[in-house]
Symmetry: C2
Subunit: 135 residues, 2 copies
Amino acid sequence: MSADKLTVTFAALADPTRRAILGRLAKGQSSVTELASPFKMTMPAISKHLKVLEKAGLIERGRDAQWRPCRLKAKPLEEAASWIDQYRQFWEESFDRLDAYLQEIQRKEADAASTPPPPSIPEIDSPEPTDDRQS
Amino acid sequence: MSADKLTVTFAALADPTRRAILGRLAKGQSSVTELASPFKMTMPAISKHLKVLEKAGLIERGRDAQWRPCRLKAKPLEEAASWIDQYRQFWEESFDRLDAYLQEIQRKEADAASTPPPPSIPEIDSPEPTDDRQS
DNA sequence: TATTTATTTTACTGATAGGTTATTTAACCA
DNA sequence: TGGTTAAATAACCTATCAGTAAAATAAATA
C-alpha cells in the first residue's frame, strides 16, 4: 500500500477529467455538483475522481451545510514539477545537439570497451532505481 | 483511441519503474538488458514499460545488431512541465495567503448571491473541460 | 548450419480504474 | 415530521495494467 507520492500525483494527473477539475478549481473553490456540471458523467463518477485528487493531496474538501466545497491544493504539483525539471536540459535545443554528440562518443567508447564514462555529462540525480515494486 | 498527449505522458510517468528507466537514460543510451538489470522483474515486463515510454514519445529505440539501444526523448516532458507550471502561483507561499483571501471573498459573494466573480483572480487557461471521454 | 544472445510477442492472470445504477447519509426547509 | 437537495457509498461491469512463463524473432558467432 501507499505507492510513493510522485506515482500518486502523476496517476491523478493522467486523466483529462481530473485535470479539468483542477483547472476549474484554480478559479476558486466549488461544490461537487458545480464541478460535475461540465461533464457527461454521473455524480458518483465525479465523486471518485475527487477522491483520487484528494488522496493525491491535490484538493481539500470542506463542509458548508450540505455542500462539500473543494479547494485546490497545488503543493504536490511542486514536487512533480521539480522532478520533471531535472530533465529540462534534455528538451532544450542547445542541449539536444550536445546530447547527440555525447551519446555518439559514449557509443564509440563502449565499442572500444573500457575507459570511464564521457567527461561530465550533465548527470541527473538518478530517480531511485526503485526496488519498490508491489507484491 | 489516442487519448491526448498529456494523459499519455502523465500515465507513463505514473510508474516508478518507468521513471527510474528515464533516470537511467538521462545518463546516456542503454540496451534493454542493461535497463532491466536494476529491477527484480522479467525482461518482458521491462519491454512493456519501454513500449509505454515509446508510445508516450519519451524514448526512442534504435538498432545496433541484436541490441535495441534506447534514448531519452524529453520533449513530452516540456508539455507536462508547462501544464503544471500554470499552477505554480498556487503552491508559492505568497499566493497561498492571497488565495485564501480571495476564496473567502468568493464564498461570501456566493452567499449574498449575484455579483460577478471576484475582481481578477489569477485566471488559469482552463484545461479543456474535456467533453473528451472514452466511448 | 547450429548455437547463443538480445529482445519481442503471445497468452494468460489478478488487480485496479473508470464508469454505471441503486441506495444511503447528511443537512436544509416547509 | 416529511420532503428535497447534495454528496457519498455499495455493488457491479468492463477494460486496461502490470506482471508472468513460454515461444518466436533477429542477429552474431562457432
